[in-house]
């Protein structure tokens, strides 16, 4: 991955270096240039070898990472940490948009201001909207509606035993 810092001037580089040191100490930051740690229980999701920004991949097992089993899965950790505060849990429910790789290796702080490339939450100012819901949400979808007493919603009747 080309780090955007490589084409910036001296002042920017100095600032970048300071910011990187601070955030590396705090979050093991990867300088993606669009910091979302506020939405991921103050844990940098870029530590994930697959750069998952929304949740664990299917290989995450018992807290360990699929790719480097000797490492912890960062998403298990994010979820664990998010239990500490209600606001963390709430923020975690938001869908993080796809990463803007043209910001990779730049300063997220300077991208917020004065460069105004991202908003405070770490996203581009006009992120691609996520369409809400699937086809079963559409009134014309023809999905079997749940019955009034919720019987369609009942799961395995014997599972509670």
């Amino acid at each position: 991955m080309f780090h955007q810092i490589k084409h910036r001037g001296l002042l920017y580089r100095i600032w970048y270096y300071v910011e990187r040191r601070i955030k590396e100490l705090m979050f093991d930051c990867h300088m993606c240039g669009q910091c979302v740690v506020r939405s991921t229980a103050l844990t940098c999701p870029m530590q994930c070898p697959k750069q998952m920004r929304n949740g664990p991949c299917g290989g995450s097992m018992d807290g360990q990472c699929e790719v480097f089993p000797e490492r912890r899965c960062i998403w298990t950790q994010i979820h664990r940490r998010s239990r500490r505060f209600e606001w963390m849990r709430r923020k975690l429910a938001g869908i993080q948009p796809a990463i803007d790789w043209s910001l990779f290796g730049s300063s997220a702080w300077l991208n917020i201001w004065p460069e105004k490339k991202i908003a405070l939450g770490g996203h581009a100012f006009t992120p691609a909207p996520v369409p809400s819901g699937n086809i079963w949400d559409r009134p014309d979808a023809g999905a079997p509606a749940p019955t009034a007493d919720g019987s369609a919603a009942q799961s395995n009747p014997e599972a509670g035993r």
């Binding site: 299917g58 290989g59 699937n134 369609a152 799961s155």
Partner: protein, 325 residues
């Protein structure tokens, strides 16, 4: 054969019918005949959907797009798997419009296995976006007729807006993490636009039950069509290998011991699979997703058994058209 205008899998799911999807792994060589032969012999008449893998386990194979199109030619309904490992958003969308043009209507959006354990460990893993973002991107093509860039999908400036009406799938691993956390992630996938979920192979019903309850707590068992995975073990060794070496596999030791102690491993494997199916049918699942890993000859028999058992629980289903119709 002309491709169908819309997904029959979708029609079946909409009607609340029980569906059986079966995974098909494309060959590791430029050999269409291999696909046709296997489709005719094992899949035709058995699978409501043929899940065509996209270089699963990061092992190089023929593309999912190509093999999916062969399915259509054979009169079968493909579910094209699409992973974020090998393509960035340009490649992904290019694959999607090609697939739509070729008559493919179902897409399963995956993050993909890391290259580290594949046959090309020195390749650059792409992971431009994750599975949730991919679902959102496909969903936007469907709902708004727009590419990821925001540009409208039209052949020319004056032609009509094209909204590709995909049936969008996602993958779920019910094991290995807190069920509630996993359900939170699945809820994101649903909001992004996923219509159905196919899960990793289930061997541990207790753990599956915990996951199901977490899904239920969010209403996701109703707002998503869930197809739990069944992988009939062919032998104890294979099962052990899967437990230790395949990412995301959760196999209880009891199942492995049972396979080790069996006189006829294959018969035991089938029995284990069908017992699991029986227990899963007690949940309001939309269908079953079958993984016939290295054991495609078991499909016809197992498919008939699964359908029979589903029918006994009062589920309705369509017969599946045999090959070449």
């Amino acid at each position: 054969m002309t491709p169908p205008a819309s997904s029959t899998l979708r029609r079946k799911l909409e009607a609340g019918q029980f569906v059986l999807t079966v995974e098909m792994v494309p060959p590791r060589a430029p050999d269409l005949e291999n696909i046709t032969r296997r489709l005719q012999k094992f899949f035709a008449g058995n699978a409501d959907g043929v899940n065509v893998t996209d270089c699963a386990s990061a092992i190089l194979r023929m593309s999912s797009l190509c093999a999916s199109r062969v399915c259509i030619d054979e009169g079968l309904e493909p579910v094209m798997q699409l992973t974020c490992r090998d393509r960035n958003r340009i490649g992904l969308q290019s694959e999607l419009i090609s697939a739509w043009a070729m008559g493919i209507r179902n897409v399963l959006c995956l993050t993909g296995d890391h290259v580290r354990f594949g046959d090309h460990p020195t390749a650059k893993p792409v992971f431009d976006m994750d599975s949730t973002n991919l679902i959102a991107m496909v969903s936007r093509m469907r709902a708004e007729g727009k590419y990821c860039s925001g540009e409208e999908i039209r052949t020319s400036a004056k032609s009509d807006l094209i909204k590709m009406d995909w049936l969008i799938g996602g993958a779920a691993n019910p094991f290995g993490n807190e069920p509630e956390d996993l359900a939170l992630h699945m809820d994101k996938k649903r909001r992004a636009g996923a219509d159905f979920l196919q899960t990793q192979p289930v061997y541990d019903i207790e753990a599956f039950d915990a996951w199901w309850r977490a899904m239920e707590a969010r209403g996701l068992h109703r707002s998503l069509k869930i197809l739990p995975g069944i992988l009939p073990p062919k032998g104890a060794k294979g099962l052990e290998y899967m437990k230790t070496s395949v990412p995301g596999m959760h196999v209880p030791d009891a199942t492995i011991r049972r396979m080790q102690g069996a006189a006829d491993a294959q018969a035991e494997g089938r029995a284990i699979a069908l017992e699991l199916v029986d227990r899963l049918l007690a949940y309001p699942i939309a269908g079953i997703h079958l993984y016939p890993v290295m054991w495609e000859s078991v499909i016809p028999e197992l498919a008939a058994e699964i359908r029979g058992r589903a029918a006994k629980t009062g589920r309705t289903m369509d017969s599946v058209a045999p090959a070449g119709t």
